[in-house]
Amino acid sequence: MTDLLNSFGYEAWILHALVWGPVAGMLHVLAAPKDRAKHIAFRWSAVLFVVSLGLWWAFDPSGGFAFRSSVPWIRSWGAEYALGLDGISLFMVLLTTFMTPIAILGSFKYVQSRRRAFYALMLLLETGVVGVFLSMDLLLFYVFFELTLVPMYFIVGIWGGTRRIYAAVKFFIYTAVGSLLMLVAILYIYFSSGADSFAYDAFLAADLTLTEQLWLFAAFALAFGIKVPVFPFHTWLPDAHVEAPTPGSVILAAVLLKMGAYGFLRLLLPFFPHAVQHPTVVTVMMTLGVVGIIYAAWVAAVQPDAKKLVAYTSVAHMGFVVIGVFALTVNGLQGGLVVMISHGVSTGTLFLLLGMMYERRKTRLIQDFGGIARVAPFFATAFVITALASIGLPGTSGFVGEFLALLGAFETHATAAVIAALGVIFAAYYMLPMVQRILFNELSEPENRTFPDLSRREKVILTPLVALMIWIGVHPTPFLDRMGPSVDRVLERVEGARTGFASLTPELGVRLEGSIPESED
């Protein structure tokens, strides 16, 4: 397979194609008649997914960042258009290219107005997200990070529900505040490193005192923490989800939230290795992760709106990512990554399913349903499997991620892991009542008697998603093997700083000489 890909020169163009392909698709959509928009958008995204699949074989996990290429962008600042891919971004990119066509296909019936604009924005969103995951230059990263805000803002604000403006503005302000702080932090490192470069490697080499690291960590962590979202910065998410149209929710849950967690792994840990090991920082992050898991599960359990319920479960799931990442162990980081993938697939699917319910009944309130399993057995089967994957039943993707994240957290922070493990119980506490009240019980509402089962298009959407949940649950090794070396490198970087940390004098602000290893290639 690799040879075949090489014969196309795959390595040279693939990353650029993934970033610019959606833009080309966007232009095509804008130029096409509006009845064709959805088909064109779907085809572009589907082709991009197929093309991106080559990464699975072409990427060599053992060799650090692959397919790197850079072009000077703003010469006077030293900013570059630089892309690269490692085992962490690989899966984020694949998740994005996989979920985008699915979300687009899932919106065929949902979106009826201004279709051209909608599909153009969906493709623009893909460019932004893929760009975030591939950037090897911090200014570029920031631009892509901000770029994702715009299409999402419009998707919620134009095609959303009744409170869409409130939700869109809340989403925009919340995340913009965080990212502005990040911009300040990026500029600070840029100037203090003295390298006149925004390159990722230059930032790695920046020599920062512990105090600086802590402040910069705070700025980055706020930006990413809002995105993840980490408790207590999560309240934009339920509103955005409830108001967003189905494809918006799918992309939001499956991919956009991952940008925050990706930022933790790609930037926070390697840039501020001392700060992330600072006892206060670790305690705060672990606490927020654990509180998120438990608190969000509780709040989810009492939501009358199914979509809001699932939105809160996202917060709980991402809590597992946070504790996995800040455990700073191999199992924790790998678990966090698997939770990210698994959550992207299973929660994305749940939103699709809820969207299908809404298309049929024009309501999302759990109490309006009941007994759906009798009239829509295929729908019910997909719903149950997805719900089980979401609550981490062994044999599904959710278990592998949560198990590893908890195990990894337990290795370094037993108390936090023990409390977080309670989330396993509370997951059943929020999910099963919803499943029961939607699918089971008596078919009491007359409107539900004509609830149509899945159409062929819907089966086509759901089948690969369900298959993926089970594949990752049964045989996650190909995933773990590909992300392993990259995770190890992040940890080596953090651990390399640990030796320096031990010899640190108690006062803050001491230069950490020789403690930061050479940047890796």
Partner: protein
Amino acid sequence: MTAVAGPATPFALVRSFQESGQWEPVLLWLIVLLPLLGFAINGVLALRAAGRSAAALRAGHADEPFPGGARPWTHTLPSWVGPGVMLVAFVLALVNFAGLWGADLHEPVVRRYWSWIATGTLRIDAALQLDHLSMVMLLVVTGVGFLIHVFSVGYMKDDPGYPRYFAYLNLFVFFMLVLVLGAGYAMMFVGWEGVGLCSYLLIGYWFRDREKSDAGKKAFIVNRIGDFGFLLAMFLLFRGFGTLDFVPIFAGAESELVYGGFGVTVITLLLFLGAVGKSAQVPLHVWLPDAMAGPTPVSALIHAATMVTAGVYLVARSSVLYALAPTSQAVVAGIGVVTALFAATVALKQYDIKKVLAYSTVSQLGFMFLGAGVGAFTASVFHLVTHAFFKALLFLGAGAVIHSMHQALHHSKDDRDPQDMRNMGGLKKRMPVTWAVMGIATLAIAGVWPFAGFFSKDEIIWYTAAWAGAESNPYRGLYTLYWGAALATALLTAFYMARLMIMTFHGASRAGEGGKRLREAPPVMTVPLLILAFLTVAGGWINVPDALQGSFMGLFGFLPGEWLHHWLEPVTAAAKEIQVSGFGEPAHIAPLGGGEFFWALVSTAAALAVVLAATAVLRRRAYVSADKDAGPRGRLALALYNKWYFDEFYDRCIVRPLLAGSRWCWKVIDTVIIDGIVNFAGNFTRLAGWITSFFQTGQVNTYAFVFTLGVLFVLGATVFRGLMP
């Protein structure tokens, strides 16, 4: 292995193993895969059938299951697929059993199929392990499972969800086999949660009924509390051993863990929390009686014979760890005996035939944990096996009764509860086979010689007494107490079972008009009952204690003594050794004096006496049907009838506060506090924006879009320029 090329019969295979002394499991993977295959086939049929009835429902047809009258092929094929895969699996299990019997094997055979989860430090393989203990479980699961599948063919015949039922049942067996054959705690956990899922699906099988789907949900959530313990135990084991596989953990346990130390005590207690959830022990027993909402064969298979005994299997499997933690052992035995006694008291006052059996199961599981807790791991597995026989028989018998009652009441348009024993009576004449086999099972569970339950229960009680007498046992007094409670429980058991038999089968019929329509179940149901009845009679003979062997109670020694004990020795010997070195040798005299033979004689005589006395007394009592009965009176009777108010207590102290707290988090923390701050900040910004808006057009949309285009343009231009030479 090479000797058996070509079309070998199973017997030739077995012989070749015995001759060579070498042994390889035969098609172990296929045993596990067969039920999964059955699930796949039945699942597809179920979806087809459900799609058809959904279409009928949408078209506004009534709930008539088969409009045409005859059952469609989706409802006939599962009758062959469901039991068929079980039969093949059982035959394969027998082949392996014969091979293992012939082989001289002291180490488990581990087969690794693929690497399941592997990170830098952790490695979990999808691996199966066959040894003497998992062999016993394998035979029980496939054997009893097969019989129950066959019974289901008759019991569920008219159910519209027939293929879905068999799909779930096959899936359950698959996960149960993963549970008992998994080569490590992680694989076991896969089966552990998987059977929980199937239990959830099957309890709520008739999901239209709110109460039934509630029961399924409750089972799942309560089980997850136990799973939480299991998870944490795995984390600790991984920290201690760097692996979750059984073989290295048990081999290294004695050197890695301190006898009676904190580590091993916590690990074993956490594992036991898992067992308490799965095996419905106090205080997590509340889901099992509700689980009776599922079809009765499900109660027989999952909630009596197999899944609920998984906790006992877990403890027996981890016998080395428990032997190293005497405190945990005392806790296991204590919870076991408290559960046994408690559940037996509740069973005294239940009217629903399945509820009686459910509490009886909880009580018998308590006995098994008592056995495991006092270090009598063989006895506890032995009781697990005999219990699988006689309790499956009791449940299936009850199923036959309910089936008959349901049809009779249904025909006479009588909406009374077909499971309420107050509506039964006099069934003996109408259902003689069912009466006879249930009578046998009653004697067995009551502990009357020479039925299966006598040997296994007596062994547990005797070991409790014997270890109570071990000279350096730190919990001697406690063990003596356990012994007394176990004896009392045995007598209560004899009483409530006699009551069940009398209320169901004797006296005058209280079924009213429908009484005349009551008839014996068809052969597809009675034949499994008869086979189980045979096992209920003879099943105990596989482990006749040496102390009884010389007397008439040893059945004149026509079978080898303590066969199961010797069979399991490769698994349990290490634990026994540790226990003897800690506690000293078990005594030969019970705390009140008297040896094993004496107490065996006393207990069987007492059990028989209670059965006869209860029969004599209750026979004369005039029962009235449920609609005329005022129910229990008196505080104690009410407390028993209401199951000691456990559900009410949990509802008030856990469920409602949790819901109220959840609502408070949402309405106060999220909505008022966090969003209050956010909105305040937003409004403040809006004020500032209003002032600055005089300088701007205010079209945010335009700004943002222009911004985007600008960025793209700049980026695109850069790339373009960069790619140009």
